[in-house]
């Protein structure tokens, strides 16, 4: 039974029916899904969740959909106790939420699964997105499963090799000969002109809700408790706010106790408007022009930036940026301690966590969860210099010699 009742403006409170909508008509602010939590609480229980499938859809009661879900097997990814990395950083209770292990290798599958399910309910036969990688792959994969058309817009500057993981699903791939900003503006216009389900524009309220399942899963995997600290990367800020919302909802439904989690947002220094705003004590996230190699989180004008800022502040958390160099060190540290090859956004989270621990902000005994939101292979060229093989001839002598040199 669906418990979503309406869409509600996050600023002015104006309510709308559960439709596709870009922003509030009155104040042009983002809208979000509103639920009947009282009715939901009568149905949802730990046991009911535990009886569900081992995917994100075990939380179906808390998601805004009615019809059959478009599911490619997303979610319920591992929460690993990271003892090696914890020792390296000085944390006794560190966990990694490894969302690399989703079907298209990033957390976007959670959000897209809900958005495409809703798109089908709302009667869209075409879905679309603009992306440089993870979102594009996820949208294309879900479109295949849902048997709907998909348009994926990509800046022409994205290397063709990166698009293989998108093109394999056979969406209509459109490369736009313009800057990142040009693609942004064009897609906002296309979304207005064509009656398509634009995943992160007019379906954004539903898209957002899928990311809540990260918060749900972590709490369930910690045997129904919320962590002391959460460290997560941010681009639009949506994921960060929805981890928090997920924890809050579980508490409201009495599946966990009060949430005392400190939320720490991390960004690449070359694209860190949320961190800037936090550090400046500002109430507004001023847009910046991204300049970072961490392309998966290079968003200069984050749609949920203000709300991410509020979550960091209200939870008693914080914000931390890291240089590209430190992000790459973070990727390597994660790979070489825990065996997880994350994309650079994961390196940002690890390097951000390191800075927070070194500064004494996150303490050794705090139960800390760091979110790894995407896998490394899609953008592996940024760490290509790790390849330093022993070069030998095909004989034992050559190998022995190389071994003695390298030893």
């Amino acid at each position: 039974m669906p418990f979503a009742t309406s869409l509600r403006c996050r600023k002015c409170g104006q309510e709308y029916s559960l439709q596709s909508i870009k922003v509030c008509d009155f104040c042009l602010s983002p809208v979000e899904v509103n639920y009947d939590y009282k009715a939901m609480a009568k149905v949802v229980s730990r046991e009911r969740v535990a009886d569900g499938p081992f995917t994100m859809w075990r939380y179906r009661d808390m998601l805004p959909i009615q019809g059959e879900e478009v599911d490619i097997g997303t979610g319920f990814t591992p929460l690993l106790k990271a003892d090696n990395l914890g020792r390296e950083l000085g944390l006794d209770r560190l966990y990694i939420k490894n969302d690399c292990l989703n079907p298209t290798y990033s957390f976007k599958d959670r959000a897209v699964s809900v958005a495409v399910t809703k798109a089908r309910e709302l009667g869209f036969d075409t879905i679309a997105c603009a992306s440089t990688g993870n979102l594009a792959a996820s949208v294309a994969a879900h479109a295949s499963k849902a048997k709907v058309d998909a348009y994926v817009f990509v800046p022409a500057s994205v290397e063709p090799g990166k698009l293989v993981g998108v093109a394999i699903y056979n969406p209509k791939l459109v490369t736009v000969d313009g800057s990142y900003d040009d693609v942004n503006k064009l897609c906002a216009e296309i979304a207005q002109k064509y009656h398509w389900g634009f995943i992160n524009i007019n379906l954004r309220p539903y898209y957002a809700e899928g990311s809540k399942t990260l918060g749900f899963e972590v709490a369930e995997q910690l045997e129904w408790q919320s962590p002391d600290c959460v460290v997560a990367p941010a681009a639009s800020g949506l994921l960060f706010t929805r981890i928090w919302k997920g924890l809050q909802e579980l508490s409201m439904l009495k599946l966990i106790g009060p949430v005392n989690t400190h939320m720490y947002v991390t960004q690449a220094a070359g694209s860190s408007p949320i961190v800037h705003a936090f550090e400046a004590g500002s109430l507004h996230v001023h847009p910046v022009i991204p300049n970072t190699m961490v392309t998966s989180i290079a968003i200069g004008n984050p749609a949920d930036g203000y709300y991410a800022l509020m979550v960091a502040r209200q939870s008693g958390g914080g914000a931390q940026d890291v240089t590209d160099e430190k992000a790459i060190e973070g990727m390597q540290l994660l790979a070489q301690t825990e065996g997880i090859f994350a994309e650079a956004a994961g390196g940002v989270a690890i390097a951000g966590l390191k800075k927070l621990v070194d500064a004494g902000v996150i303490k050794r005994d705090q139960l800390t969860v760091v979110f790894i939101t995407g896998a490394g292979p899609r953008t592996q060229e940024i760490v290509a210099n790790v390849v330093r093989p022993l070069k030998i001839q095909p004989n034992l002598e050559s190998f022995s010699e190389a071994l003695s040199i390298s030893a």
Partner: protein
């Protein structure tokens, strides 16, 4: 008539200039402010522009040329 919803971000040196007023006079564009915040350092305004496509585009180009950053109201939509 087309409508376009945008956010203007003003640098400090332009805060005192009547740019939105001039936009409405220089171009056949109706400006309709929905939200705004202006401080001594920076200012932003979320507004709807209504008019012919060409007029809106020319108006935005003029505003951009003055040094105002113009963004879609939905934020950046190109995601990683």
């Amino acid at each position: 008539m087309a409508k376009k919803q945008v956010m203007f971000t003003f640098p400090q040196e332009l805060i005192k200039e009547p740019i939105i007023y001039n936009l409405g006079h220089k171009f056949k564009v109706v400006t309709n402010i929905r939200r705004a915040d202006v401080s001594e350092n920076k200012g932003w305004v979320v507004l709807e522009l209504e008019g012919e496509d060409k007029e809106i585009e020319a108006g935005i180009a003029w505003v951009t040329d003055k040094g105002v950053r113009v963004d879609p109201v939905v934020g950046d939509v190109v995601e990683g």
